[in-house]
Symmetry: C2
Amino acid sequence: METNTVKIIFMPSGRRGEVKRGTSLLDAARQMGVEIESICSGRLTCGKCKVQIENGRFEKHGITSSEAHVSEATGAELRLLAEMGAQDVRLSCTALACGDVLAFVPEEARGQKQIIRKTASERVIAIVPTVRQFYIEVEAGELGEHRGDWGRIQDALAAEWNLHGLRIDLQALQKLQPALKKSDRAVTLTLLENEVIDVRPGYEEGVYGLAVDIGSTTIAAHLCDLRTGAVLATVAEMNPQVKFGEDLMSRVSYAMTHSDGLSKMHSALIETLNQLAVSAAREAGIRARVIHEAVFVGNTTMVHILLNLDPSELGGAPFALANRDAMDVKARDLGLRLHPGANVHVLPAEAGHVGADNVAGLIAEEPYHLNGVTLMVDIGTNAEIVLTAPGTMYSASSPTGPAFEGAQITFGMRAAPGAIERVRIDPETFESRFRVIGDEAWSDGWGPEPVRRAAGICGSGIVEAVAELYLAGILRPDGRFNPDLEHPRIRREGRDVAYILADGSQTTTREPILVTQSDVRNIQLAKGALYAGAKLLMNRAGVAAVDRILLAGAFGSYIDTKYAMILGLIPDCNLEQVYAVGNAAGDGARIALLNREKRLEAQRIAREVRYIETAVDPQFQAEFVAALHIPHAQDAFPHLEGLLPETKPHRSRSRRRKTLLKK
Amino acid sequence: METNTVKIIFMPSGRRGEVKRGTSLLDAARQMGVEIESICSGRLTCGKCKVQIENGRFEKHGITSSEAHVSEATGAELRLLAEMGAQDVRLSCTALACGDVLAFVPEEARGQKQIIRKTASERVIAIVPTVRQFYIEVEAGELGEHRGDWGRIQDALAAEWNLHGLRIDLQALQKLQPALKKSDRAVTLTLLENEVIDVRPGYEEGVYGLAVDIGSTTIAAHLCDLRTGAVLATVAEMNPQVKFGEDLMSRVSYAMTHSDGLSKMHSALIETLNQLAVSAAREAGIRARVIHEAVFVGNTTMVHILLNLDPSELGGAPFALANRDAMDVKARDLGLRLHPGANVHVLPAEAGHVGADNVAGLIAEEPYHLNGVTLMVDIGTNAEIVLTAPGTMYSASSPTGPAFEGAQITFGMRAAPGAIERVRIDPETFESRFRVIGDEAWSDGWGPEPVRRAAGICGSGIVEAVAELYLAGILRPDGRFNPDLEHPRIRREGRDVAYILADGSQTTTREPILVTQSDVRNIQLAKGALYAGAKLLMNRAGVAAVDRILLAGAFGSYIDTKYAMILGLIPDCNLEQVYAVGNAAGDGARIALLNREKRLEAQRIAREVRYIETAVDPQFQAEFVAALHIPHAQDAFPHLEGLLPETKPHRSRSRRRKTLLKK
């Protein structure tokens, strides 16, 4: 005897339940809390709600499932499936359950998409964007019924999608009636949170967002599909503010000393952002006018200038932000030519000099969710340092200066083709070998016409050079060139001493590339500041050692962590627990774009982290002075045990050297 | 023995209580729920919180009050009072209670201002604007404290004014730090609901709003002080859309037939509104850029065009509105050059052809709060009719056509100087006397060179003329000229008949001004539609008679209600209960500007009123045909009893006439 209910099981979640015979599989899924994607809500327009009907007897579940247990596909369903080239699937909105069914929901049809992020740890990030689309068919108004078309749409959205308390942006309202008229009252609505920002005639799919990291030098933007999380295009441009000042402080000072300074820098930035949006959109085959949201991160000065906020207060103590919290503004109010209703979300800052970029890095890496003590370091002109330990979280900004970026180094340059990025110095012969960006070969393997000659030294190159000079005994632990050494590689001119890293035959200018005493000093100052900042936070948190270190940013990716520890840039740590996490700020911007809950997390974290002002901390000065040595206190680096030269490093150094390189 | 508490009584409210000795009178008032105005919260800046200390023994209250019972005025208080020229008052924020005090709070210092509205009934409207100002002094940021200046301001507003959950408009945030810097961290904040829209350095008082009634022909704007409710300026301009079409339907059709039609009409309207704002501001001695809010009312077509919404759907059934509900949009998004953060509030509509102007009239008059049955009529090209009875409220729009505005009348003109507005016809001699707008003298008292000759007939003039022609027996109850009458004043040319109202010597053109048979027919059609609409609503509400009639709009003000009833424009009613309520729509706009709760009332009323579509109601047609006679059914007008001529009105009419005019 036929009963009135049938059993349905959805895989892979394994959720099961009984529904009335004749229920659509989509409705059945909703009743059981299985999320199947659908934009058109059963109108055979979107084709999103695919399921596979499994044939067979499933003992474990006590049912027999068969394609014959669902209603036959209608002509309309078959046509839509054929259009999409979909085989062996049914649309769950149209397939009615006539008997027990075990259905598999393919990845693409699952309601909540997710992306996997994997750097220091692996995490799954659900796609929960602020922007969503809904297709509805609206009843026509009748004489004597006066809700108005927006009222009718609100009622339809409440009935079909359980959406309430909606608003509509004026520009969307302006499109509403023409769209209804054009498409026989079927429209696709785009909602940003609870505000309708677009109305398009008929079924029109596509929600897009832009995640932008405004660096002092480079602006990078990822264009994402907000439905799937896919990155459709990645574009970058020089920050046009460079012409108003190379570093942040000179830009702040430009704003302070020119009455139109802010306005010029703001306009230049907005213009570049508009160009980036157009390039990214073109690469993805869409128009910039359908980018519905943009998330911005950047340091506090960049965020001030983005929002046309005078950055003058950031130029001096107490470094007061205009606003610390996250902000949402209409893109049109900033002059951004995205969708006319597009939202701009700017992540919050932590303190006057620790901005949205750092917060973005935090929500990307979530060190506060890791066990033990984690140190996260983002090295730029300032090093931003965050230390998390169970129940506590500190941050600081250390004035490393730009040496790690290759600036303030005699032959320094940015990490670009031709820059020396790897350095080895033979501890016996003091001869050097190196590698430049853009060529896999070490310099001692170059032919008479090398692929690419050396043009300068980038950040990772200078770190390795100084470390190798130290390991070879050419530098003493205090950073001074060993006065006892005489060698053709070591050039002395009066009080100036330098090491010839590349000779004229190896360089683009035909002049040698040197590592000078002053370069070494600058690296010492930079690494001293970085280490002292980390140490300050460890002291505050009351921890003696860190369990892992996350190195964010470009420098963190290029640098060889061994050399970082030999130089004492970072505190002692098992080298296997030192991770380069890449552009965490950019990743965090993308994550905030795709997941609205992560924005709340960012806001919470930004307020929870306790920022320590290094500039006025007496401990910092002491730590800084102590950290100038290479490595300044060997007993503080047990993980380097056996890898360091003796006090007189130029003796019996070869054994140490070999031991180190075995690692 | 001195006790630790003192008694305070505030007049005129009579509230009393005990407070700790040394409490400021302002704090005492707050503790007792007495609202005293204060913007600066005790910083001796605003000078708003004045009180008079009464000297004497107040037996009834059991206290002796004396100026000596409050602390002596400080130098700063004396200076501020002197600056304001205030005598015999103290500032309650600074005057501390040292003994029992009876203080009088003068009208100007009371926390909640109000305006009195008096037309059909007297009502007090509290001033509760959406825009408010707060003066605060913000602590400076300190190194190591990272709330940001907006965070510090939020904390100050929460602590001093108990304001929470605030937002800040980007353009206000942009002004924040410069303002703090300029004024030693003392700023005046302007809030629109819970959003900060302005930050000004120091103490700067002044919140302003514009209430605008966009009529099809004329746009009128009132500039109001939002703190006191005072109207500072009233300005009006022709609606620039007139050049795209005289009446609403021709403008809708202009939008339908020209691709840039809407955009042209919208831009012209916005430009005129900007000019009006500037004129009003100039008259009030302020700048348009400090107008913080504007409330707009108008018919549905005008509101659509204001919001740049295509009005095409209003051109045909089912007359679907884009949006029925109230809307708030940023003035800048409409191109209005008010304050950069200014809000625009548009009142809701009731139905496709009953717009925000009608809703505004309703909240101004509140017929739904009156006892009995009230009929409210606003006569324009369409007559909008609302009937309220306890627990029920109906509205309709009756297609009167523009006859009552002087259009479709052979010698019709708008109510402007030279228009005949009053008419008397001697029932014995059939001679006429009349008065024109701009001259107090009746035409039979004119000298050989009259102050002003007649240029045409306006709405009230044609209504009186037709009624007098009927009372004189020249017209029959069916509206036809009595075929039996021969008189030099009655001109017959073939089938055309007309009454010579003014002869060539009395007119500007030197040609006579006539009332033609066709004019009479048009007035009959118009009054038939109006009456039928009213009757339809009465039938729906199940009421046989109305207790009062409110005539809104210009025509309602000009018209002599007796004649309106003689002609049968309005249902029978005690003439003492027929009120001209003036520009209720404009008043409603002003009320909504000054009182945010009235906006909620408007939204509620707009949804509650049951709109009856006259065009498709079979009852309406029947009532309409029946209502074409003058007065079409004498037994339906008991209040005209004894005032109407007999069936053969040209006989013994003088007695009736005299009886009527005694009233």
